[in-house]
Subunit: 301 residues, 2 copies
C-alpha cells in the first residue's frame, strides 16, 4: 500500500504519494508561472462548496486560455478519487492547470503548448497557526510594497504570482507580525497571501472588490454576514477607513474567518478577538457542516 | 550513455537528461513563483560573459534572500560540468535557485525553507525564429496590459512572473505579431518577454533603465554602441519617442540584437532591418568571439 500520510497527487490518471508528484523544469507552469489553481477544503470527510470552487477553477482556466483536455466532470472525479484514496478527512485539496511545454520545441507562442491538469491534497493547512488565531492575528501593511495591479495580472484568475506577497511576508516576519496585507497604488487595502480582508463598523461590513481574488471563503463570509443581519459593502476600501475599523477579520479557505487584533502599531479590541469577528468565526465552522454545501468523500472500507 | 541531445540538467550534484529533471509540486518555486534564475549563452564551445551572468545571478539571490548552500565557485563548476557532459556547442544554459519547501511543514514563513539550486541546458534558443529576424521583427504594444511595477516585483532580480507577458503574447500572436513589448503605467516603454528594447536616433541610442531587467545583452549592446560612436542614454523611454525612432532593436541572450521593422501599425526602415541595427547585430556576433568574454567548455574526448 502506498503511504498517503503526507498527502496524495493525481497526475496523468494515476494517484501517487505527494512526494512523487513533480513538474518538469521546462514546463511554463514553472518557467513563466503560467498556471492557474484552486484549493477546496475537505472538512470532516466532505468537500465544502465543491461546485463553487470548480466554477471558479473553470473560469480561471478560460480566462487564461488554458485547456487541459479534461472536462469539469472528469476534473471533479479526479479530485474525489484522489481524496478518497488518500483517506484524509480534513484536507487542503489543490487543482492545478499548467500551460505545459511547447508542442513545437523552441516556440514562444502560448497558443501551442501541451496544457495539463493535475491535483494534490495534503492534511488541512491553517495559514495562521491556531494558537495565534485564538489570541488574534497581527497584520503588517508595508508602505513600499504594493499588490500587482489588475491590468498586469488578473487576481480573479487564481495564480502563483506571489513575488509581492513574498517580499511582504519577509517584511512582516522580520517585524514579528503573523502575516502581510498589501495596498494598491491608490492606497486601498487589497488582499494578503491566501486571504481576503474585511472590516466591521457597527452593522456594516466592508470588503474590497478591486485588485483581489473573489475568494470562496470571502463569499461564504459575505453570505454569513448577511444572515447575521449585517449590511455588506463590496467596494474599494481605503487604508484610513480600514485602520479606523471597529473590528477586522481575514477570510481564507485555509483557516476560515480569522479575527485580527493588530495592524502595524494599532491594537484592536484590546488585543483579543472582537466579539463580532469571533461570532462569525464560529458561524463559519457551523456553515461548513451544512448539508447543502457538502459532498461526502466516498472513502473505501 | 545518457542521451543529452535534448539537453541536460544538474540537480543535487547529479547530471541527468533534461527530461528527467523536475520540481516537486509543493515547492514554492512553483506554488509561489518564488524563484530566481539566469540564462547564459554558450556559443561555439565557450560560455559568453559567464562571470557577468554569475554576478547577476548572485545579486538576484541576495535580493530575494535565497541561499542555496552553494557558493559562486560551486555554482560555476556545476554549470561547466553540466555543459561539458551535454556536449552542446551552442546552448541556452539556465541556473535556477528556488525557495523550496518549508523546513517546518505548514509554515508560511519564507525564512524557513530549504532553498535549492539546480541548472539545465538545452540547444541554443532563438526567441524569434531566424527567418523572421532576417526580415525584421514585428512588435505589438498593447494599451490595456502593463508591465508589473517595480514596487510589486523587482525586475532586476530575474524572475518568472510572466503573467503580463503571457497575456501580451496572446494579444500579439492573435494579431500576427512576432512578440510583445509592454509599457509601464506612466506610458514609458519597458521590456518584453526575454528582451530589452532600444531606439536609434541619429548618433544617439536610448534604452530604458526603469522597470526592466538590466540584461547582459543590453549591457553588451550599450558597450558595442559606444564602441560604434553612439551616445547611449539610459532613462525612461516614452512611448511617443519610441514610436518616432529612426530605428528600433531588441536585445536578448537568446538571439542577440534583433532589428525591428514594425510596431503596431508603423513600419520602420521600409520594412527591412535598418542599416544601423543590422551593423550592431553583426557586431554582437563578433563580440561573442572575443577571447576576454569567453570561457571554453572542457568537453571530454
Amino acid at each position: 500500500m502506498a503511504d498517503f500520510s503526507a498527502g496524495a497527487a493525481w497526475m496523468r490518471g494515476k494517484i501517487m504519494p505527494i512526494g512523487e508528484a513533480s513538474m518538469g523544469v521546462l514546463d511554463w507552469g514553472l518557467t513563466h508561472s503560467d498556471v492557474t489553481y484552486d484549493v477546496v477544503p475537505v472538512w470532516k470527510g466532505a468537500f465544502f462548496r465543491l461546485e463553487d470552487y470548480l466554477d471558479r477553477f473553470m473560469a480561471s482556466m478560460a480566462d487564461l486560455r488554458l485547456a487541459p483536455g479534461m472536462d469539469r466532470a472528469e476534473i471533479r472525479q479526479a479530485l474525489i478519487e484522489m481524496v478518497a484514496a488518500s483517506g484524509l478527512r480534513e484536507a487542503y485539496v489543490a487543482m492545478v492547470c499548467s500551460r505545459g511545454a511547447p508542442i513545437v520545441p523552441g516556440t514562444r507562442d502560448p497558443r501551442f503548448c501541451a496544457n495539463h491538469f493535475f491535483a494534490w491534497c495534503v492534511p488541512y493547512v491553517n495559514i495562521i497557526p491556531l494558537e495565534r488565531v485564538a489570541r488574534g492575528v497581527s497584520v503588517y501593511i508595508p508602505d513600499d510594497i504594493h499588490r500587482i495591479p489588475e491590468d498586469c495580472v488578473n487576481p480573479r484568475a487564481k495564480n502563483y504570482h506571489w513575488g509581492d506577497f513574498t517580499q511582504g511576508l519577509f517584511a512582516a516576519k522580520d517585524r514579528d507580525f503573523d502575516t502581510v496585507l498589501l495596498t494598491d497604488h491608490a492606497g486601498n487595502v487589497t488582499e494578503g497571501p491566501g486571504f481576503n480582508a474585511f472590516i466591521v463598523q457597527g452593522d456594516r461590513v466592508v470588503t474590497s472588490d478591486h485588485g483581489v481574488l473573489h475568494g470562496l471563503t470571502r463569499r461564504t463570509a459575505i453570505e454569513l454576514c448577511e444572515a447575521h443581519g449585517y449590511t455588506v459593502e463590496k467596494r474599494p476600501l481605503p487604508m484610513e477607513e480600514f485602520l479606523e475599523a471597529e473590528e477586522i477579520f481575514l477570510t481564507t479557505s485555509s483557516g476560515g474567518i480569522l479575527p485580527v487584533t493588530r495592524v502595524n502599531d494599532r491594537i484592536y479590541s484590546n488585543g483579543t478577538p472582537g466579539p463580532k469577528s469571533a461570532a462569525l468565526r464560529e458561524g463559519y465552522f457551523d456553515w461548513m457542516m451544512r448539508p447543502e454545501f457538502r459532498e461526502d468523500v466516498p472513502y473505501g472500507g
